[in-house]
């Protein structure tokens, strides 16, 4: 396979800067040309700050009893959970392998343990929602509320997505492009219906010729020296030209999940959403959107919000935190299954073997229950990866048994190691880039990749 190199990158930057792709389907081009690593990425955001003890990083309630909370500073709170759908025993954890447990709300994702790499004890270094989100997305701590780098997906799209119609697609999650070519900027929408509205031409009194004339006038205005000097006006013109290309690409049918067709009905059934407005705005529909965007060759990177409302400082921690996490994990499980069921070209391989799915949240929640019966923000985080070259069936790193603090980890073995490093999101981004053949620190995060994720 021909790996992407800097010269090739710079060349594609010039071409890509002309607009958003060239109206071509990427899959046959990318696969046939062999120019780029055959890697695709889906980032799944759990909004509000999740509680890993209910999902990715649980504790044994027989060891971490309420009697020793003073010593461990860890209160599992499992006895407080109120779930209308499930009744938990004294140990509600889900065992997936010898000595490997997930929290009680891991949902159907537990069925895919063999494909999962779970990173525990990751340090976020920030407790603000926006800051934590920006930290994970960009791999850099923001400066105040201003990001200091482009999103990892923007970098990946810039490197790999020159042939895709929408190289970088983001639903309900912010994305940043500070230093990459314009084509790599995420097309950001709030929901599946809004994406459909973006891709569909609106009815108008004017015919195509009249629209071309307007476009000509605007293009002429944009070519003036005054306009050329303005970065904003250059970006505006590139985006405006991109609209025309996108509309002519006719991509909307791919995302018309409410359509009365057998294929769309099957999709709705698999992910578990209705074709009405509520269903199309659901996390499940976003999961379907991400997989569709990737497997149809429209996108290289897709980011979706699979869970929301996890900021449970009060008594809603006991009632809402777990079920909302479980819903998000179930969406990821459906995506993994969907990717596995779709053949990658005619290679005999599945799309799952070429697509890395990342589940993340901006930070975690405190190890002790607060006075309101909830949990506040905590620095120690976890995340889950699957697909592509990710080595599944492994736990990387750990959080400490006192207060769930971050713990140093060997980047090569993934084992807790006092001589190792605290894992940060940027270690993971660098591993994803390394898997795509990019060994340079193109994100300028100045850490080594977490190679334990890869073979």
């Amino acid at each position: 396979m021909t790996r992407f190199n800097r010269r090739r990158f710079l060349g594609s930057t010039v071409l890509g800067g002309l607009g958003l792709g060239l109206g071509l389907r990427s899959f046959p081009v990318a696969l046939a040309s062999g120019d780029k690593a055959d890697r695709y990425f889906i980032f799944c955001y759990f909004g509000g700050g999740w509680d890993p003890m209910l999902g990715l990083d649980p504790r044994d309630p027989a060891v971490f009893t309420n009697n020793v909370v003073g010593d461990t500073r860890i209160h599992t709170g499992y006895e407080l959970l109120q779930d209308n759908d499930e009744e938990f025993g004294p140990d509600p954890r889900v065992q997936v392998a010898e000595d490997v447990f997930f929290g009680p709300y891991i949902g159907d994702l537990a069925d895919h343990w063999a494909d999962l790499a779970v990173v525990r004890g990751m340090s976020m270094e920030t407790l603000g929602h926006g800051g934590g989100r920006q930290r994970f997305i960009t791999g850099k701590l923001p400066s105040g509320s201003s990001v200091r780098g482009s999103s990892a997906t923007t970098h990946l799209a810039a490197l790999l997505g020159t042939d895709n119609d929408i190289p970088n697609l983001s639903v309900n999650v912010e994305s940043y492009n500070l230093d990459q070519p314009a084509f790599a900027s995420a097309l950001r929408v709030g929901s599946v219906p809004d994406l459909l509205a973006t891709l569909r031409p609106e009815g108008t009194d004017l015919d195509e010729e009249a629209k071309r004339q307007i476009s000509q006038l605007l293009a002429d205005a944009a070519s003036c020296p005054d306009a050329q000097r303005s970065k904003l006006l250059r970006e505006a013109e590139a985006a405006r030209a991109g609209v025309d290309e996108l509309l002519h690409a006719g991509l909307d049918a791919q995302f018309d999940f409410g359509a009365d067709s057998a294929s769309m009905a099957n999709l709705r059934t698999h992910y578990g959403f209705e074709g009405d407005n509520t269903g199309l705005r659901s996390a499940e529909a976003q999961g379907a959107l991400a997989v569709t965007a990737i497997t149809s060759g429209i996108s290289r990177c897709a980011t979706v919000r699979v869970a929301n409302g996890l900021d449970t400082h009060g008594s809603n921690w006991a009632t809402d935190q777990g079920p909302r996490q479980r819903r998000g994990f179930n969406v990821i499980a459906r995506m993994i299954e969907d990717l596995k069921n779709r053949e990658y070209g005619q290679t005999g391989e599945s799309w799952f073997e070429h697509t890395t799915v990342v589940g993340f949240s901006e930070f975690s929640r405190t190890s002790r229950i607060n006075a309101q019966g909830g949990r506040d923000h905590a620095l120690t985080n976890a995340c889950v990866l699957a697909g592509g070259n990710i080595v599944g069936g492994q736990i990387i790193g750990r959080s400490s048994d006192v207060g769930l603090a971050p713990f140093p980890t060997s980047l090569t073995t993934g084992q807790p190691d006092e001589a190792g490093e605290l894992i940060h999101p940027e270690h993971i981004h660098r591993a994803l880039l390394a898997d795509a053949g990019v060994t340079e620190d193109v994100m300028d995060v100045r850490v080594d990749p977490l190679m334990a994720l890869l073979p």
Binding site: R188, A197, T204, D205, Q213, L217, A221, C224, K231, R240
Partner: protein
């Protein structure tokens, strides 16, 4: 048509300061002296007072501007505001998850601004055709049926008025910058044989032009 296009291309970049305005003459910075990809940063010695970096209006401002200039909002069949419906997609802050509006002139923004322009301009044309001359806000100096060939002076006068109304640009009669708009009207009429559609194109062009949504 080619003559019209050439004229438009030549006139499209006209920057001659109109007389009668109080704005100081602009300092022209040659393009080849500006380093690419440095944004709006220009060496301080070259800066003129009117060469600040441009910013995009936020969605509320654009919504209000469209309603003010045309008298119509972009609404769906139920009368609900489309800008409000698309607030999340258009980057408006919800003050729960985010507090800063995304002011990038992104592809999504351009798509929906264009949709809005087509929708409100269609409404505006329908209304203007029904209104008495003194009630009109678009056809103030020209009749809806006026074309460039027969009523050039009236059309030009109306376009000058529209540029002031939509872009806050006050141009003198005969200013070069008018040519591109006259071309848009004339070529639209030439193709469609319908003055209404030609004026609709002018309306859409005015709203989707950066002078409308940036400052």
């Amino acid at each position: 048509m080619k003559r019209l296009l050439l004229a438009a291309l030549l006139a499209g970049c006209a920057v001659e300061a109109p007389t009668g305005t109080e704005a100081p003459p602009r300092v022209q910075v040659p393009v080849d002296e500006v380093v690419e990809d440095t944004g709006d940063l220009i060496a301080a010695k070259e800066l003129a007072p009117d060469l600040r970096g441009r910013r995009r209006l936020n969605i509320d401002q654009i919504n209000a501007s469209i309603r003010t200039t045309t008298g119509f909002g972009w609404v769906d069949d139920d009368g609900d505001d489309r800008f409000e419906q698309l607030a999340e997609t258009l980057g408006k802050p919800d003050y729960v998850q985010n507090t800063q509006e995304d002011l990038a002139p992104s592809l999504v923004f351009q798509k929906f601004l264009t949709d809005a322009a087509h929708a409100v301009c269609g409404e505006l044309m329908s209304a203007e055709y029904q209104r008495q001359p003194e009630q009109r806000v678009f056809f103030v100096h020209a009749e809806p049926s006026d074309g460039v060939a027969e009523q050039k002076a009236a059309v030009e006068e109306n376009i000058r008025y529209l540029l002031l109304r939509f872009h806050s640009r006050k141009l003198d009669a005969g200013a070069d910058e008018l040519d591109q708009w006259l071309w848009l009207h004339e070529s639209g009429e030439f193709v469609s044989h319908d003055a209404r559609l030609a004026w609709t194109a002018v309306c859409v062009g005015l709203i989707t032009h950066p002078d409308f949504y940036t400052y």
